[in-house]
């Protein structure tokens, strides 16, 4: 059998292959030869064959049949064999295969070999890929070697011990005695690995940590020697003596000094020294400074030192070297919470980094910028951030947009500024904003009452420019639906009002409906908006036409809406104005459940749609049925909330002359004549509102009788709404002690201007005679100023055939209900 070809020759041959296929062929041939050679148990060439196998393995070809051969090589007496054998073990074997355990004995023998290089090989292999079982078996040997005076072996043993501890943490105690005089070594290799070992132990065990704290003075001394000592050719790197060791010591000092006053004090001087004396022209120096800064920030250093550290980072930011800038931004991000003011001083440099070409740097700069935004710098920062949003990569846009929204919400100097900023984000990065920002923005806009005209105008103009960005389009169509009347009447105060006709507005909205760019959700928004405009515009016929067209739309969502709206036009036209009323101010609640949002009775679909829950899927068809049923079944139209006074009487105007100085809160639309015997209205909606939804934390508030006349008694019981303590929840219980039922019972309430009130739907409108049952209804009162609660109530009902109406004032609210 000819001698197997040499390694170098094989490499040369394989490299001549011109195609992958050719290479594979060569490799297969050689593998076959190697395999037969292995079978022959040839000791002479085993080493060479395994070496070749390792090369082929690196090229990506399978080499598992060589695993046992590696073990044989390790067991051989020849150094060459062992060298390749151990290398092969590290490359081909891993702890998942049981084969590796066979190594344990060999390693054990080699750990006690007479030649230190053999010992070194075994220590290296054990420390690189030793499994937990191997570590357990051989820990004793490693510990022995940790105490040897041979520095070559001692340093390796230290790192091997680190590996053992990582694999089998319980064995850590075992190495404790050997660590006693590790630091008194002169050999840098041993010092370095000892510091690594100590670091590992301190990181894993608080007991070890306190035990090793006493080493701080020694570590400080070693560090000092490194800095002060003259040029040492052996360890010099660009004029700095053993930077690797310096960095490791600094890291250990950080761990030891954290949270401990005495240790932190002991290292103060040396840290200041390193920080000021280290050469910063090369990467080495900066590496040490970086570690120093991290240590200063983590321990209990005095403020002067901390400022020094932050200034170093500030200087890093101006460094030409990109790596240094990156590292600085990362560190500043870690410290911005604790040393906010110091970092603020470098704000302009950080903002400049937003324009850097490197992606990682840009991301860090963006995160840091958001962390630095506060009430004082919001305007300037936002300018920069919006500019960044314009020009950054798409991957950033979503995060940047969310960050801007958050910052704007927290620190907006004025409502106008807030809306402008939001508009800017929508127009520049509109397609990247997160889904939940649409309802958030709508809520923001609703609540900025004085800005409605301005907002709708700007949004309208934005729509004229571009209808491709869905979140923008959705917010815009919602606003136009709500405030279209302001748009057409040209009422804008903040900027030059534009002249827009009703037809133009409807053109735009219809354009959205037909455009290919609009998603189904957007179409739904615009259809609803068009519908709402039927009460605000005069061109109702056009709207009717549009709505009826979509009654046969393929999109089920649109079809459903259109059908319902059609029904509104045809059968329930009298209710349309009330239903399509202006939206009330929405409360921002922490949770997202639809029940937590204050609901008005008989909401239109759009109301439900526009709650915090994302409108992409609207309610199941049952909701639609509810609406129709409620309207069909009752004569008594649910009470609708209007917004605070500036609007002229909207809900039919009937009610409200009543209450001269008090703001209006509830009123029915005129009840049509026939009084159909009441069936209980379907409870789906009621189920949501009449049960106490909120946690009863104010269980202690006593109930009170609000009204008691002519046999009708109304009692109020109280709860506190859990998510917001400013809201009092009152449930009225109406009972009838007369012998005849009270039918068509309607309860209305009004409160002073500083309050807001919402009435949910009643359980029924028949108060049964002789106290056989009661009508319950939930009232929610928002009392932000915590003033004394007063209420005026109006009751209407039919009793023994004749209508009865009464007004009353309720002043006897228990203090706990409004405090």
């Amino acid at each position: 059998m000819p001698a197997p070809i040499r390694l170098r020759e094989l490499i040369r041959t394989i490299r001549t292959a011109r195609t992958q296929a050719e290479e594979r062929e060569m490799i297969q041939k050689e593998c076959a030869a190697i395999r037969s050679s292995f079978r022959e148990e040839d000791n002479t060439y085993r080493c060479r064959n395994v070496a070749k196998l390792l090369y082929m393995h690196m090229l990506g070809y399978p080499a598992h049949f060589g695993q046992l051969e590696c073990l044989k090589l390790i067991a051989s007496q020849k150094f060459t064999d062992k060298r390749i054998g151990y290398l092969g073990a590290m490359l081909l074997l891993d702890e998942r295969q049981d084969v590796h355990l066979l190594m344990t004995n060999c390693i054990k023998n080699d750990l006690n070999h007479s030649t230190q290089y053999v010992q070194g090989l075994s220590l290296c292999t054990l420390g690189c890929m030793g499994s937990s079982e191997m570590c357990r078996d051989l820990a004793g040997e490693v510990e022995k070697l940790l105490k040897t005076s041979n520095s070559y072996l001692r340093k390796k043993a230290a790192l091997c011990a680190v590996h053992v501890i990582r694999k089998v943490p319980e064995l850590m105690e075992m190495f404790l005695p050997a660590t006693k005089n590790l630091l008194s070594e002169k050999n840098h290799g041993v010092l370095h690995t000892s510091v690594v070992l100590l670091t590992e132990m301190c990181e894993r065990s608080p007991d070890m940590l306190s035990h090793f704290r006493k080493l701080v003075p020694q570590l400080v001394r070693i560090l000092k020697n490194l800095i002060m000592s003259g040029y040492s050719p052996e360890h010099d790197v660009s004029g700095i003596s053993d930077p690797f060791l310096q960095v490791r010591i600094l890291r250990l000092l950080r761990i030891l000094g954290k949270g401990d006053d005495d240790s932190s004090e002991a290292m103060n001087d040396i840290l200041a020294q390193v920080a000021t004396n280290t050469e910063t022209s090369k990467n080495v120096g900066n590496a040490i400074l970086y570690e120093t800064v991290l240590t200063i920030m983590d321990i209990k250093s005095e403020s002067g030192l901390r400022v020094l550290a932050i200034n170093i980072l500030g200087r890093f930011l101006l460094n030409n070297d990109k790596n240094i800038r990156y590292v600085a931004l990362t560190s500043l991000l870690k410290t911005v919470q604790t040393d906010h003011n110091a970092v603020q001083r470098h704000r302009s440099t950080i903002v400049d980094c937003l324009k850097d070409l490197d992606v990682s740097i840009k991301r860090r700069a963006m995160e840091l910028s958001f962390a630095l935004v506060n009430g004082n710098n919001i305007r300037g920062m936002m300018k920069e951030l919006l500019y960044f949003l314009d020009s950054c990569d798409p991957d950033f846009k979503a995060d940047c947009a969310s960050g801007i929204f958050l910052a704007a919400e927290k620190y907006a100097p004025s409502k106008r500024w807030h809306i402008d900023t939001v508009m800017r984000v929508l127009t520049t990065a509109g397609s990247y904003v997160r889904d939940d920002s649409v309802p958030n923005l709508i809520q923001l806009i609703t609540n900025s009452v004085e800005m409605h005209a301005y907002t709708v105008q700007r949004l309208y103009k934005a729509l004229l420019d571009d209808i491709s960005q869905q979140p923008l389009v959705q917010v815009a169509s919602w606003c136009i639906g709500e405030y279209g009347d302001l748009l057409v009447s040209g009422q804008c105060e903040e900027e030059e009002p534009i002249q827009v006709s009703e037809d133009e507005v409807l053109d735009v909205l219809e354009g959205l409906l037909v455009s290919n760019l609009s998603t189904p959700v957007t179409r739904a928004y615009s259809l609803t908006a068009i519908m709402k405009l039927s009460t605000r515009f005069s061109s109702v016929n056009r709207i009717k036409k549009v709505v009826s067209i979509y009654g046969s739309s393929i999109d089920v969502e649109l079809q459903q809406r259109a059908v319902e709206y059609n029904a509104l036009f045809k059968k329930y036209d009298h209710m349309r104005p009330a239903l399509l009323e202006r939206m009330p101010i929405m409360e921002k609640t922490a949770t997202n459940g639809p029940t937590d949002i204050a609901q008005t009775n008989g909401e239109t679909d759009s109301t439900i749609l526009d709650t915090k829950h994302l409108p992409s899927i609207t309610h199941p068809a049952s909701q639609a049925n509810d609406l129709l049923d409620l309207l069909g079944g009752n004569d008594v139209v649910p009470v609708i909330q209007t917004t605070v006074p500036t609007k002229p009487a909207s809900a039919g105007g009937e009610l409200l002359d009543l209450l001269g100085d008090l703001s209006l809160t509830g009123g029915p639309t005129p009840t049509p004549a026939p009084s159909v015997p009441m069936s209980q209205p379907p409870f789906l909606l009621d189920g949501l509102s009449s049960q106490p939804i909120f946690n009863d934390i104010a269980a202690g508030i006593p109930p009170m009788t609000a009204y008691n006349k002519n046999g009708l008694k109304i009692e109020f019981t109280f709860e506190r709404s859990n998510p917001s303590p400013n809201i009092a929840v009152i449930t009225i219980h109406a009972t009838n002690s007369t012998e005849a039922d009270m039918t068509e019972f309607v309860f209305q309430a009004a409160v002073p201007k500083t309050f807001q009130l919402q009435l949910l739907s009643p359980s029924s409108n028949v108060v049964p005679a002789l106290n056989q049952g009661s009508v319950t209804q939930v009232i929610r009162v928002l009392n932000p100023q915590k003033q004394q609660l007063r209420m005026r109530i109006k009751l209407t009902y039919t009793h023994k055939g004749s209508p009865v109406q009464d007004l009353a004032e309720v002043n006897n609210f228990p203090p706990q209900s409004w405090q």
């Binding site: 040369r12 060459t80 070194g120 690797f244 790596n323 070409l357 990682s360």
Partner: protein
């Protein structure tokens, strides 16, 4: 350090050292991914990037990329120095090292690495000591081989 990879501009692996236990398939997958990400970097970009929960520190020397994956709390700048030290060692050993040296003497490259780094941490900070140890180990190897290899060369086995 969790692993170190050396690869060419064409993405060919020249050396791979793993300090964490992983299966062969996992290693292959990770190498492929990391190589792809690093090769995609433009020349002006910084030497660090985040990948999964690790930091990749890489530097290009001539036609070879030296790439280390370190944990979050490691000092990236000193890792660059470690890479540089390894290159210096190779350079001293091979005399103006080039990629071919590493291709044809890959096992020696591993030996040198194993004398410099153990279990992912540097074991010797003196260049001289590392090179001395390698030299002596090489001599040991030669002594053991010499008697046989001469005969082999001649062909008289």
């Amino acid at each position: 350090m969790q692993f170190m990879l050396l690869f060419s501009r064409q993405g060919k692996l020249r050396l791979q050292k793993w300090y964490v236990p992983l299966s062969d398939t996992q290693k292959k997958k990770i190498s492929r991914e990391v190589i792809q990400i690093v090769l995609a970097r433009k020349p002006k970009m910084c030497s660090f990037l985040e990948w999964r929960d690790l930091k990749i520190v890489y530097k290009r020397y001539a036609s070879l990329y030296f790439c280390c994956a370190v944990e979050d709390q490691e000092n990236e700048l000193i890792t660059l120095e470690i890479i540089h030290r390894y290159v210096e060692l190779l350079d001293k050993y091979f005399g103006s090292v080039c990629e071919l040296d590493i291709i044809f003497n890959f096992e020696k490259a591993y030996y040198i690495l194993d004398e410099f780094i153990l279990g992912g941490e540097a074991q010797e900070t003196s260049k001289k000591n590392v090179l001395k140890a390698i030299e002596q180990a090489d001599m040991l190897q030669e002594e053991a081989e010499t008697p046989r290899s001469v005969l082999e060369e001649i062909g008289l086995t």
